[in-house]
């Protein structure tokens, strides 16, 4: 029996980074999963939650719980949105309430994409190839809220032809996105971004990958603004051959 995966697309991948969502689908199907996309999904509520608007976040969270209630596995191409469900949803409802029980039930079957592939499907070699140098940016929520250090690296290490380069001192330092922080405290956010971009360029990588659309829009927007030759992609895009080799890119 193939595993039935409900794709928790996330609003950013749905509206902006659609290639990342398609790449996730392709990967999951290639690994034998049956993918479905609940069409009623909107957002997980994190922007409101992180800004202190808990009543607003709670309403959106209720909708999310309803949307995914029949799912066998819920997989998302975002560490941050996954942590919203797995870590923070419980802070929105009374312990012991029907919602809290539903959260416990669904959170247990919710996975970030690379965690699902490595820990649930037991795969690290997904048959990917890339000729070039890749840097991995560890996004904070995947790293620290979900405690994931290994899954994305495990997958990248098995990409044929790719050289994994490290971003010195900076691999696990925040890029400065921080959701609404990026516009609320825009100057600090940009100062943090500058340091990240400098480290990326010094690393010799021709592309940087991460498991979060938010960080990637922030880093990618910084890279194109400074006319950098480094490009930013979702890890699933690299794993499905959607990243053109550096020499093919002009």
């Amino acid at each position: 029996m193939p595993r039935k995966v409900s794709l928790f697309v996330t609003c950013l991948a749905d509206q902006v980074m659609t290639q990342a969502a398609w790449a996730a689908v392709e990967l999951l199907e290639k690994l034998g999963c049956q993918v479905e996309v609940p069409m009623g999904q909107t957002c997980c509520g994190q922007p409101a939650f992180n800004s202190g608007y808990r009543n607003e976040a709670r309403e959106v969270a209720r909708h999310w719980l309803e949307t995914f209630k029949h799912a066998q596995y819920i997989v998302s191409p975002s560490g941050s949105c996954t942590s919203m469900v797995k870590v923070f949803y419980k802070d929105l409802f009374e312990p012991g309430s029907p919602e809290a029980r539903e959260i416990a039930r669904l959170a247990a079957r919710t996975y970030e994409l690379t965690q699902f592939i490595v820990w649930e499907l037991g795969r690290t070699d997904v048959g990917a190839r890339y000729r070039g140098k890749v840097a991995y940016h560890a996004s904070c929520h995947l790293l620290r809220e979900l405690g994931e250090r290994h899954a994305p690296r495990g997958l990248l290490e098995r990409v044929q032809g790719a050289e994994l380069v490290s971003i010195k001192d900076s691999e696990t330092v925040c890029c400065g996105f921080g959701g609404t922080f990026s516009v609320k405290m825009a100057d600090l956010s940009a100062a943090m971004l500058d340091e990240k971009l400098a480290a990326l360029e010094a690393s010799g990588a021709d592309c940087v990958v991460a498991c979060d659309a938010g960080c990637l829009l922030h880093i990618g927007g910084g890279l194109t603004r400074r006319g950098s030759r480094v490009r930013a992609f979702h890890i699933a895009e690299l794993l499905t051959g959607r990243v053109p080799a550096p020499d093919a890119h002009v």
């Binding site: 608007y53 996105f177 921080g178």
Partner: protein, 490 residues
């Protein structure tokens, strides 16, 4: 520089912007934070059991909080039994009055102080000087700060925002040390030592804080690297220690864990150069102070104790590791936080001490990256507490009392709309289609270089905004994979 005691926490963002524009400050902060981080990392790497130590540290401080009222009384009994005295202070005013009263009763004129965040918090120097006493800070960083009429910018490194050139200027100006410029760090140290030695020998009272207070022995512990705290607590006739009530640990033996955690977390040392254990007054035939006073300071701590979500912040041992790890502190510097406690832990506790209405920006002074929690030796869930505080800020802003500032209209409107649309998929899809269309109209080559919309203008000021897709992933999915999924889902 001259800084006032008035908190400026409410203008964090403007303070940070000013700091970012100050190249000298950025250089000092970058260098110091790099040093602290690498020293801590190697000291932690030496102990494969560091995670276990953290768990123990967390458990010890949590037990202390669970049993705090009882432990405080036990501590008092032991201090008194060893010839000391305990004075309870509800707030800054009471604490300062205790010290002033003791000093007056004992005809004290000159006072030396070692570094203490609690005394910064209550502005003790200010109160003592106003009452006519001469007070000299003897920690090198604090000494510099006092000369410059500045305020500390880091919990354990108060003058970390200054370069050695700036310190030379201060010594030349305030101490008339014409050799200070060009003296180098050893030369500056020699000037400070020479100046301070006179103060140590002439002071009648020494004031310190405490890093820990052991309930079962009545001991206080002060860690330091310069020897000045040892001198402050032994040379003068009278020793006064100002101790926050959260400094308690249940047992003297607990210090074996806490000291290992503190040195490694703070400066990356296995132990600091000096660890002072002070238990009561000097006995017969011993040298040391004739009087030992402990001021037990509440000053808002019991209010924090009552907050179910935030009371864990009282576990803090003021090591400063969260400041050094924080990418926001590293850019904004300590003064931006606008009060005595800086960085991530400052962003958590300052709004509790001052009241949310006086520091509503601080809970937002974080990208929630979690580096602070990762290094915290007592595992304070700082990012989760910041989120809790953000919700308190929003909640307080909607209260009729009007005590807290209103949130920006655009923000509350946006999140109202977000909640409305977020549970109505058809309207959500309609509204986001409109939004995408508007944004795409401004894009070229898939990027939007500049926008004059609120908030988004702040994004595009420093980075491009990737143009949204013409068609959402879900729309494309429905088109390419047929309506089967949508129907199965309905």
């Amino acid at each position: 520089m001259s800084a006032s005691h008035e908190p400026t926490s409410h203008t964090f963002e403007a303070n940070a912007r000013e700091a970012l524009a100050n190249a000298r400050l950025q250089k000092a902060l970058g260098a110091a934070s790099g040093r602290f981080v690498s020293h801590r990392a190697s000291a932690v790497a030496e102990r494969p059991d560091f995670e276990e130590l953290r768990r123990c540290g967390h458990a010890i401080k949590q037990e202390a909080l669970d049993r705090l009222p009882q432990l405080l009384e036990q501590f008092e009994e032991h201090v008194v039994a060893r010839g000391g005295r305990v004075h309870w202070a509800r707030d800054a005013e009471e604490a300062n009055q205790h010290v002033i009263r003791i000093a007056k009763n004992e005809n004290v004129k000159r006072i030396v102080k070692s570094k203490s965040m609690a005394t910064e918090e209550i502005h003790l120097n200010h109160a003592l000087e106003a009452a006519g006493f001469e007070v000299v800070e003897t920690d090198l960083g604090e000494f510099i700060i006092q000369l410059d009429k500045d305020i500390p910018s880091h919990i354990i490194a108060p003058a970390v925002h200054l370069t050695k050139e700036q310190v030379s200027e201060i010594f030349e100006r305030e101490l008339r040390e014409t050799n200070a410029p060009g003296a180098g760090i050893p030369g500056l140290n020699a000037i400070a030592r020479r100046t301070l030695r006179k103060s140590f020998l002439s002071a009648e009272m020494g004031i310190s804080g405490a890093n820990f207070a052991a309930a079962d022995s009545g001991s206080i512990v002060i860690v330091e690297n310069e020897g000045n705290a040892g001198l402050c607590s032994t040379l003068p006739r009278i020793h006064v220690a100002v101790v926050g009530i959260e400094k308690l640990v249940p047992r003297f033996d607990d210090l074996a864990v806490m000291l290992k955690l503190l040195g490694r977390s703070a400066t990356g040392q296995r132990l600091t150069s000096y660890t002072n254990f002070i238990t009561g007054i000097a006995g017969d035939g011993e040298e040391g102070p004739e009087q030992f006073h402990v001021i037990l300071l509440d000053n808002g701590r019991s209010k924090i104790y009552d907050d179910d979500h935030l009371w864990g912040s009282l576990r803090c041992i003021r090591c400063g590791a969260c400041l050094n790890a924080c990418p926001v502190y590293k850019r904004a510097g300590g003064h931006a936080y606008g009060w005595v406690y800086q960085g991530p832990i400052g962003a958590v506790i300052t709004p509790q001490y001052l009241g949310l209405e006086r520091a509503p920006a601080l809970p937002y002074a974080s990208s929630l990256c979690g580096a602070c929690f990762e290094v915290c030796p007592v595992k304070i869930e700082i990012p989760h507490m910041l989120l809790e505080l953000r919700s308190q800020v929003v909640e307080a802003s909607t209260e009729a009392s009007g005590a807290a500032p209103k949130r920006p209209f655009f923000e509350s409107l946006s999140f109202g709309a977000f909640a409305f649309l977020g549970r109505r998929p058809k309207l959500w899809d309609f509204a986001t289609r409109l939004g995408r269309w508007l944004l795409r109209a401004r894009s070229s080559d898939g990027q939007i270089p500049a926008l004059s919309l609120p908030l988004l203008n702040r994004w595009t000021a420093r980075r491009d905004l990737r143009a949204p897709a013409r068609e959402t992933f879900r729309e494309e999915w429905a088109r390419r994979r047929g309506r089967a999924d949508a129907e199965a889902d309905a």
